[in-house]
Amino acid sequence: MISYAFDYARPTTVEDALAQLDDDAKLLAGGHSLIPALKLRLSAPAKLVDIARIPALKGIRQDGNELVIGAATTHKEILSSDLIKEHLPMFAEGAALIGDPMIRYKGTIGGSIAHADPSADWPAMVIAAEGTVVVQSKSGTRSIAADDFFTGFYMTALEEGEIITEIRFPVPAEGTRMTYQKFTQPASRFAIVGCAAVRKPDGSARVAFTGVSDAAFRDTGVEEAVGDWSTAAIEAAAAKTAEGMELNVDHFASEAYRHHLARVYCKRALVAISE
C-alpha cells in the first residue's frame, strides 16, 4: 500500500508550521492514524507538515496551578511521567491502554484529540480532567474547554489553520481520585466503551465517555446522580449513562449492548474511586 504523492515539511517552530499550513496541508504528529489512512488512499493531502519534533510542542510541566502537556507529547512520555503519576494518575493508567507499545512511542495526545476518533481514549480523559485545549493560528492563540472541543464524528472545534499547542489541566486538589476504565475492541484495541471518572474531595464528580456515541462527551446526568457515592447512588448514577443519546453501532456491539456496557463501565469507574 502506498499513498498518493505529497510534499513534506518539517518546521522547527510553531510559527513555521503555521506558515506551512495551507489549504491542502495536513498536520503530521505521531502519524499512526494518518499514515494508515493515507496508505489506504482514504485522503489525499498535498502536503504533510510534520510537527512531531517541534520542541515547543513537547513536554509535561507544572505551571502554577496547572499541569501543561505539550500537544506533541507521546502516550509513552505521559504514562512514564512522574508529574502525571502524581497528579493525574488516570492518564498514566489510560495511556497504557492505548494501542500497543510501538503506537504509544509515536502517538501523541494532541494528534489523538485533533483526530477525534469517536473511540479514542484521550478525549474522555481530557474532558474528565477539565482540560483546556490551547490552539494557535496566524491570528493568535485561543483556548477551548475540552467540554466544547469534541463536536461530532471526527469533528472538533478546531478551525482551519489552527494547531493545538498544549492542553492544560487544573492540578487536582489533594484527595482527588480518578480512573479510566476501558472495554477494548479486540481487533483495533480502541475503546468499545471507555469511561473516565474523577471524584473531587468535595464529593462532586466529573464523568466522560468515549466509544459510546459519535464524539466523546461529558455526562452530567451521571455526575449529578452520584450524590453521596453510596452503592445505591452509584447504581442509580450508572443507570443514567448516556440517557437519551444516539449510540454507536458496529459488529462488536449493538446499540443496546453498548448502552449496557457503558453503564457497567460507568459503575466500575465510580466504584473504583468511591472511597
Binding site: 500500500m1 502506498i2 499513498s3 498518493y4 504523492a5 505529497f6 510534499d7 513534506y8 518539517r10 503530521l28 502519524g31 499512526h32 499514515i35 494508515p36 493515507l38 496508505k39 489506504l40 504533510l48 510534520d50 512531531a52 509513552k76 494501542g99 500497543d100 507499545p101 510501538m102 503506537i103 512511542y105 509515536k106 481487533a187 483495533s188 484495541r189
Partner: protein, 159 residues
Amino acid sequence: MAQITVKVNGKEHTSEVEPRLLLSHYLRDVLNLTGTHIGCDTSSCGSCTIHMDGMAVKSCSILAVQADGSEVTTIEGLATNGQLHPVQEGFKECHGLQCGFCTTGMIMSAADFLNQNPDPTEAEIRHALEGNFCRCTGYHNIVRSVQWAANAMSEGVIE
C-alpha cells in the same frame, strides 16, 4: 524528492526519497534490509518493528523522511560483534518461531521491552507483545523465549 540521512545499524546512509516512501519500504527496497517484514496496512501486525532512536516503532507507519537524522536498528543490526542478542538466542532456544515472518518484528519488540522491564512477569510479557501478531506459535513459546532472554540477561550469561 527529499534528501535524508539516516544511520542504520551504525552506518550512515544519505538517499533521495519521495516523501510518501514508508520507512519499511526504504529499509527493504533502498537499503536491501529485507529482515523487516510487512504484514498489514493498518499499523496492526508489528512485523515491521524496528528500533528508531532507541524506541521500538512500526516502520510501516513512519515515512522515511520522518527518519531523517535518526538512528535506526533493524533485525540485521541487533547482534553485536557476531554475538546474537539474548532475545534472538531465546527464540532459538525456546522454539519461539515457526515460519519466521513475524519473528523479526517480535524480537525487536521484545528486545525493547526487556530494556524497559528486565524482570517481567508472564502477564507483563503478554501485554508487551500486544502489538505483534503471530499466527504460528500460539505465543506460548514466544513468551518462554522472552523469559529465557530475561533470565540470560539478568544472569549475565550473555552480554
